[in-house]
Symmetry: C2
Subunit: 86 residues, 2 copies
Amino acid sequence: MNNYKAFVTIRLRDGILDVQGKTVENALHSMAFNSINNIKIGKYVELNVEAESFESAEEIVNQACMQLIANPIIEDYFIDLVESEE
Amino acid sequence: MNNYKAFVTIRLRDGILDVQGKTVENALHSMAFNSINNIKIGKYVELNVEAESFESAEEIVNQACMQLIANPIIEDYFIDLVESEE
């Protein structure tokens, strides 16, 4: 078995209203950060996975994202997987 | 003025207990994802910034992260900045 490390970025799909992003944007504008716009807030997940191959690790992380970590109806996710020494 | 796009990843500093990550990890184990461990959950922020130079854009985003977007006491953040066409 090999160890892999996955870095998953999760963002709301285009067209889904980002209430949290809009709130942070308004707060920044009230703090005079007027040059910042179009804020989108998502999630970033790091995890370790043990698998027989890179492909199998990718499949495990993909299933975990689809079933629990992300909400595929309103979110897109991108998995960056690397082999790990640990 | 130029437009830049910033991608900010925010993660809990090492040693800070990640309660959310631990909860997701327990849930994954109960769903038979036993090969996944050591889950850390952070934030991922995308934003547009208008500035005169790359350095100035970086400074604006850095200040926004320090003052509002991240909590520098318990979180580390990494800014990835690119020039944007928009």
